[in-house]
C-alpha cells in the first residue's frame, strides 16, 4: 500500500476532530444569535475534519510515509524520557537536585560525556541560576524536602 505522510496526518486530524465532538457531548450549542459553550467547539471540529479530509485527498503529493527519516527518534525519545522524569520529580526533590540530575543524565546517558566534567558543568549552571533567582530576584524556586 502506498501510504503517504499526509494520509497519516490527515487521518489523525479527522480522528482529532471526531474526538472533540465526542468530548463536547454535554456542552450546549446555543443559537446563532446567542452561541453556547458548545458552539465554537463544534465549528472547529467540523473544520478540522474537513481540512483533514482535504489533506488526505491531496496526500499523493506528499512523501511516502515509509521514506520519512526517523534517524533522530531514539535521541528524541531519550531526551523526552529524561525530561519527563525530571518534571515528575521537580516538585518533590526541588530545583537544585532535579535539574542537576537531569542535566547530568542528559550529558552522561545520551551524550556519553565525561561524568566529572558533566557534573561540574551542570552544578555550576544550576547553582548560578539558583543564586540569581533566590538572592537577586527574591523568587524562590521549588525547594527539596531538605529545604534548599
Amino acid at each position: 500500500m502506498n501510504v503517504r505522510a499526509d494520509h497519516i496526518a490527515g487521518a489523525t486530524f479527522v480522528i482529532f476532530g471526531l474526538t472533540i465532538i465526542a468530548l463536547s457531548g454535554d456542552l450546549p450549542f446555543g443559537q446563532l444569535s446567542m452561541p453556547g459553550s458548545g458552539f465554537l467547539p463544534m465549528i472547529v471540529s467540523v473544520l478540522t475534519i474537513l481540512f483533514g479530509l482535504m489533506l488526505f485527498v491531496t496526500a499523493g503529493e506528499s512523501p511516502r510515509f515509509s521514506e520519512l527519516s526517523w534517524g533522530d527518534d531514539k535521541h528524541a525519545l531519550l531526551v523526552t524520557v529524561i525530561t519527563a522524569i525530571a518534571v515528575a520529580l521537580y516538585n518533590y526533590l526541588g530545583f537544585v537536585i532535579t535539574m542537576a540530575a537531569m542535566m547530568i543524565a542528559l550529558l552522561v546517558v545520551i551524550e556519553r560525556r565525561n561524568p566529572l566534567r558533566a557534573a561540574a558543568y551542570s552544578l555550576f549552571i544550576v547553582f548560578l541560576t539558583y543564586g540569581i533567582f533566590q538572592y537577586l530576584l527574591n523568587t524562590p524556586l521549588p525547594a527539596s524536602p531538605f529545604s534548599y
Binding site: H75, M103, P142
Partner: protein
Amino acid sequence: METTLVSLAHGFAIAFQPDNLGYAFLGCLIGTLVGVLPGIGPLAGISILLPVTFGLNATQAVIMLAGIYYGSQYGGSTTSILMRIPGEASSVMTCIDGNAMARKGRAGAALCIAAVGSFIAGTFGVIMLTLVAPPLATLALRFGPPEYTALLVLGLIFLAYMSSSSLVRTLLMACLGIAIGLIGIDNMTGHFRFSFDLAELGDGIGIVPVAVGLFGLGEILSTPSHKIAGEVIAPKLRELLPTRKEWREAAGPIARGSGLGFIVGIIPGSAHVISSFLSYALERKISKHPEQFGKGAVAGVAGPESANNSASTGAFVPMLSLGIPTGPITAVLIGALMIHGVSAGPQLVNERPEIFWGFVASMYVGNLMLLLLNLPLVSVFVAVLRIPYVYLYPLIIMFCIVGVYEVNNSIVDVWIMLIMGVLGFALRKFNFDPAPLVLGLVIAPLFEQSLRQSLVMSNGNYFIFMNRPIAAVLLGICVLLLSLSAMSFFTKRRDWRAKLAEAEAGETTP
C-alpha cells in the same frame, strides 16, 4: 502644543535629577534581567519589587517600576533569539526568524536589530504618548467587544499570510490552536470545557507553555546532537554588528512595526499580544522575498520586536489618561500608584503634573539607557553560543522547565510544555509549521468571548457590527482583503503563495 513642550521640559528636569536617573537605571537593569531570565516576567518582577518602593516617593516608584516593564520588553528577545525560548507571548514571532538568524551565525546582528528596533519603537511610542495621549484615550474607550471582534477577524485573515506551508496546512494548524484555546472555563456560561476535572486547566492553556514547548523543546527534539556536535555557530567579534544590507532590510519593518504596535497597544484588553503576530504577517505579506521568512529574515525580527515594544508604550495611554488597565501589567502599575496615594486617571496630568511628566520624560531617558545597556550586552549574550551544542541543549531544557514553571508556579504547565515539545517534533516530521497554531491559541478565547459579549450587548443582533463605526471600518478592511485575494484567484494570476507551494512541492517530492 507649546504647553506640552513646556511641561515636557519640566518633566525632563525631574527625570534628570540624579536620584530619579538612578531609579530609572535600576528599573531598566532589573527589567533587562527579568526579561532575559525565563519565567520571571515583568508582572512578577514588578510585584516582587513593589514593597521595596514603599520607601520611595511616588515619582521615583513609578519611574522604577515602569523601567522594569519596558526593560523586560527589551530583554525578552534575548532567549528567543539565542535559545528559541519565547519568554512571553509577544516574543513568539521573534524566536522564529531570530533563532534562524542565530543559526546562520547572525545572532549578534539579530540582537542588535532587536535592541535598536525596540529603541526606535519605544521612543516613537513615547513621542506619540506625549503628543496625542488624551484624544487617543477617548478612542480606546470606544473600543468595546464589537470592535474587538472585528479586529480579531482581521487577525484571523492575517493568519493566512503567516506561514510558508500550504493553506490547508496553515488552517489545520490554526484549528488545532483554536481547539487548544477552547480548554478551560467558558467565561460566558461557567462550563468547564475539555479540562478533565483539573482545576489547573480552568483558565485554559497558557501561551508560554505551548510556545516554549513547540519552539524551544520541539527544536531540541528534532535536532539530533550527533549531527551538529562540535559545530559552533558563535560569530567572530567583528561580525556582531548588522551589515549595511541588514540595516536597510530592517528600516521599513521597524517603522511599520512601531506604528502598528502603538495603535494595537492602546486598545484595552489583551490586544498587545497580537501586535507582534500582526506585524510578522504584514511584513511577510508585503515582502519581496516571503520565502526567506522562517529561514532568518531580518524583517521577521525587526517588525515584531518593534511592534511589541511600541505596544507596551501604547498601553500607557489608557492607563495614564483614563486610569484603565490595558492588561495585567498596567493593572499592577495602577495598583502601585494607588499604594503611593496617586490615582491614575484624567486628573493625573493636572493634579500631579510632576508625576505624569516626570514619568513620560523618564521613558525617553529609559529607552536610551536600555539601548546603551543592551548593545554591549550583545557580545556577552552571544558568548552563550560558544558553548558546544551538546552542553547547550541540557541548559536550554532546564531554562524551559524553570521558565514555564515560574510563570504560574504550576507543574501542570510544565507537563503541557513537554507534551507540546513532542507535538512540535511530530509536526515538524509531517511538515507542519507551528506558528499559526500559536496565533490560533491566542485569538480563539478572545474572539469567542468578544463575539458573545457583543451579542449580549445587542441581544443577539448581528447588526451591532455594522452600526458601530470602528467595527464597521475594520470589517470593511477584512472584506477588502478577502476580495483582493479572491480577485487574484479569479484572474488566474497565481500569487507568491501558489508559486511557493509549488516550489516546495518540487523540493520535497523526488
